[in-house]
């Protein structure tokens, strides 16, 4: 609207040329952040060094190795291009590993989310003493992989284990947990879900707690049942968190190693020979570093894709 500048009542107009000279001088000199780059080096240097040496460099090294044949100490010998990958993706054995990993990851994620959600919604009820249940439900967060493996190995133990005792008492048919290929997978899935449950419960419970109570009050006034409220208020409100937890569980599933090593060693008959366990075996048992590198890269691609998906959602949440 206004185009003409109204100059101040107590202005002292100064020489234009003089001002211009000063402007140029000050633009060059004046910076609050002149020394920032030295501080940046100091503050960021250590982290970048570590990430560079242990994350970036090995990434490229793995890519490099995967294009060669390697000798027993892991030195590249012959350049073979993509043939390590082609061999892998045409090998029934590796495709089996991919398949069992997918089954495991999907089952673990679905069950973890379903059970976590059940526990979280129950624990959100306003009941006397509910705090005790909240603490108990989150307790598996404190269980490390080897402890979980020991607890469940005893439960699944075919001769003296808890489940075989129960089967005997109840005259049920014995199940070859850990010895039957299908049941071994089930056993590993159960153990993983149990381990994941505490963390998943805690995150989902936190999300449910942060849904504004006015939404439920409004729905109650409309006469909505608690079932309806759960599916039409709770679930949509926590959907970003649900998505986040699903991806985290999925990614952790792909990286599973400890439980496999402790419980099944990939068996029986490769029924639980998942991706990371394979890498370990191929590299450090069979000495086939080239093939293990190619497997590593495939794993990296899978995980990177899911992480990117997670970033996309995080980004939306961060910048809404």
């Amino acid at each position: 609207m206004l185009k003409s500048p109204a100059s101040g009542s107590s202005t002292a107009p100064i020489n234009q040329a003089e001002t211009k000279a000063k402007i140029e001088a000050s633009e060059k000199d004046f910076s609050l952040n002149a020394k920032d780059k030295y501080y940046a080096l100091l503050f960021l240097g250590p982290s970048l060094l570590i990430l560079g040496v242990f994350i970036f460099y090995p990434m490229f090294k793995t890519l490099y190795l995967s294009l060669f044949l390697t000798n027993t100490v892991g030195k590249p010998t012959v350049f073979v291009g993509l043939s390590n990958y082609i061999n892998l993706l045409t090998s029934a054995d590796y495709l089996n590993s991919l398949a069992v990993t997918m089954v495991y990851v999907l089952a673990v994620t679905a069950l973890t989310i379903a059970l976590g959600l059940l526990l979280a919604s129950l624990a959100s009820k306003k009941l006397a003493g509910i705090g005790i249940f909240r603490t108990l439900f989150s307790s598996t967060m404190g269980v490390s992989v080897s402890v979980a493996a020991i607890f469940w190995l005893f439960i699944f133990n075919p001769s003296t284990g808890f489940l075989s005792l129960v089967s005997t008492w109840l005259h049920l048919p014995m199940i070859g947990w850990l010895t039957d290929p299908m049941w071994a997978m089930v056993a590993v899935i159960i153990t993983t879900v149990w381990m994941n449950l505490g963390f998943t419960f805690l995150i989902l419970f936190g999300a449910i707690q942060s849904v504004p109570t006015t939404l439920y009050e409004a729905a109650s006034i409309e006469g909505a049942s608690s079932r309806f409220q759960f599916f039409h208020i709770t679930i949509p409100s926590i959907s970003p968190t649900l998505f986040f937890v699903s991806i985290v569980t999925l990614i952790d599933g792909f990286k599973s190693f400890g439980l496999i090593d402790l419980m099944t060693k990939g068996g029986p008959t490769n029924a639980t020979n998942m991706l990371v366990y394979r890498i370990y075996k191929d590299a450090f048992y069979s000495g086939n570093f080239a093939q293990a590198s190619a497997e590593s890269l495939i794993l990296t691609v899978i995980i990177a894709l899911f992480t990117l998906l997670q970033f996309k959602v995080l980004e939306k949440r961060v910048n809404y």
Binding site: Y39, L51, K61, T62, F199, T300
Partner: protein, 276 residues
């Protein structure tokens, strides 16, 4: 009034029943493990699960015949050092990304974010060669140095630092605080809660390391507890279930206590770092 109260009570009883059943299911592995840790292995082997022949003998055996305490000590050292290192280096990096102005800041941040996509599990082959070349095998350092910082930690702390009111920085500028002072005297105390949360995560993360220590340690003097338990299980005591359960209990009880005490930090931090 009674008309209203009755069904509510009935419903509550239903809820409590369901909660209790679920709690029992979740806790069953703990109970079974703890219970058998007090039973002599003979009774377990015979299937006398309900034997009343309870004793602390398994625990005494575990402490005296296995290096379990040494394993725990190793894990404690590794996890504690890793935790403090990550708190320091992640917070410093996050500070740089939020409060400093420098060339390639955005690109460097994207680079750090990108490392979150690269699983350590897929990089064990070159990393093994690296630490071998550095002569770090079978030491505490080999389990600490690769984890001195974490992209997740940098990302999470950056989110928290960014949420600090800009006026705090301005107020500090007016008082003439330099970056080191502002970082140490304002940013760190202001972000106590996210720092505690990150500390808990990095401690637990280090505590639960399995694959990397398994590759890089060969002796009980450095073996952390996860791999120690595996060692015990595979070694001597093939079916000494009583003692194995006792070692598991020795490992899990301290973490459970820490978890229950620090629970609300995990909760707030998990949600903050994760989805905010």
């Amino acid at each position: 009034m009674n008309v209203v109260a009755k069904p509510k009570l009935a419903r509550n009883i239903g809820s409590y029943l369901l909660l209790t059943v679920l709690a029992l299911v979740v806790l069953a592995p703990f109970f079974i493990g703890l219970w058998t840790s007090f039973l002599p292995t003979m009774q377990i082997a015979k299937g006398n699960f309900l034997s009343t022949d309870l004793s602390f003998q398994n625990y005494i055996d575990a402490f005296t015949q296995t290096p379990i305490l040494h394993y725990l000590g190793n894990s404690l050292v590794i996890s504690t050092v890793t935790m403090f290192a990550q708190l320091l280096f992640c917070s410093m990096s996050a500070y740089a990304f939020v409060f400093l102005d420098f060339k390639y800041k955005r690109s460097l941040f994207v680079l750090v974010l990108a490392t979150m996509m690269l699983p350590f599990e897929a990089e064990i082959i070159p990393n093994f060669s690296t630490v071998k070349a550095m002569g770090l095998l079978n030491s505490y350092s080999v389990m600490i140095i690769p984890f001195l910082t974490s992209a997740f930690g940098i990302f999470m702390l950056r989110q928290s630092f960014k949420q600090m009111p800009a006026e705090l920085k301005e107020a500090a500028d007016i008082e003439g605080l330099g970056h080191l002072q502002f970082y140490w005297k304002i940013v760190m105390p202001y972000n106590r809660i996210p720092l505690i949360t990150l500390g808990a995560y990095s401690f637990l993360g280090a505590w639960n390391q399995y694959l990397w220590p398994m590759l890089t340690t060969f002796s009980n003097s450095f073996r952390p507890v996860q791999n120690g338990l595996r060692q015990l299980q595979s070694e001597e005591t093939f079916n000494d279930w009583g003692m194995i359960q006792a070692t598991a209990a020795i490992v899990v009880i301290p973490t459970l206590i820490v978890l229950f005490v620090g629970q609300h930090y995990f909760k707030s931090g998990a949600n903050e770092g994760a989805v905010k």
